[in-house]
Symmetry: C2
Subunit: 209 residues, 2 copies
Amino acid sequence: MARNRQATKDRHQEILEAAARVITDRGLADTRISDIAEQCGVSPGLILYYFESKDRLLVEALTFANDQFYLRLSRELRRMQSARKQLERLVELSVPGLLAEFERLDEWALWIEIWVLALRDPSMAKEREVLDRRWRQSIADVIRHGRSTGEFPEGDDADELGLELGALIDGLAVQVLMNDSTLSAVRMQRVCMEVAAKLIGFAMEPAPA
Amino acid sequence: MARNRQATKDRHQEILEAAARVITDRGLADTRISDIAEQCGVSPGLILYYFESKDRLLVEALTFANDQFYLRLSRELRRMQSARKQLERLVELSVPGLLAEFERLDEWALWIEIWVLALRDPSMAKEREVLDRRWRQSIADVIRHGRSTGEFPEGDDADELGLELGALIDGLAVQVLMNDSTLSAVRMQRVCMEVAAKLIGFAMEPAPA
DNA sequence: CTCGAATCTGAACGGCCAGTCAACTCCGCC
DNA sequence: GGCGGAGTTGACTGGCCGTTCAGATTCGAG
């Protein structure tokens, strides 16, 4: 029975991963149940055996993918001592397409789909707010950590700074994701660190000419 | 004939406005041709008489609505002498739901739909970049204006600042639009001006306690 | 008034796809 | 070895909606 429940859970998660993948590739609007089924080598009927409707599945898939991103982020940050390094890593992971090394779903594309859904679906709206709060908090925590070690000076409320930097990263990430010809991934990375330096109040290293 | 072309143009525009309205209300994904027809009191067939396909119409409607916003913005800014006032007005117009007075389509909801489309539709992607560049440029122009009048100090490249503040506003606007319980319209307005003050380097007035 | 072009209508067509279902397989258990 | 339930299949259905089309209406020009 434990084995059974485990197997069930795996299939569940397998479908969620497949769904996230398909949404990333084709976009939420063009994602069909049969695409998801095909992605995990299974018949379309089975998808509806595990999820009560397509809509519910899509919502779950989107939050699932976001969770994955958050888990990776917080796991990595927890390992680092230096707040400065944490901040750099956080930015690095947030710039769409900067790190090809990792198998990277384009989380950001999913994030935008979440926004659209959240405009009309109350359950998604609620979910979105939770995810977003977590994101801002991660940034604020890095700042607080930096202050406690003396890397960053005291200053404005850390949560306020988290809000500001989070929004900045969101806004820039969208443009990079869209392949804006004037905003490369590397430039976004630089801009984020420069603004963070100004707002938090630490010194940027001299540009690595 | 001139009359004819005028009439045609009106119907064209009428449909675009109706489409923008429907998209705002129901979301791009749930917008049907018959909804748009109903919105302008016309039969569904006529919509396809003026636009070659639903997809093309939707793309045009989205850029049309964005144009409207931009025109209103630039018209208003042009009238003002003070760069500081311009900046305040620009922020005011950018905060979703702050000004109920005007008949306000929620332009921001449309903007997010543009992002989603632009991820997959190359023509929309191109359009989006143009619209975005115009937006950043409006901000940069305000900064340049302020420097020329001495209201703002010289400092970092104005285009860079336009990019940064534009992204900040985008990111915050999304959250306000989603009714984030921790970010009210008024708070967004304050945050924008505070960050602008820090980055551009002017002094905020003491809080109007 | 007449003709023709532009505009407009709404019924009908056709493709698409979420969701259903009856049947089949697999596997653990008695 | 056979019973039963969970897991799986894929054909089918029902509704939806973009698009087409054959004709009605409007209107300006001659």
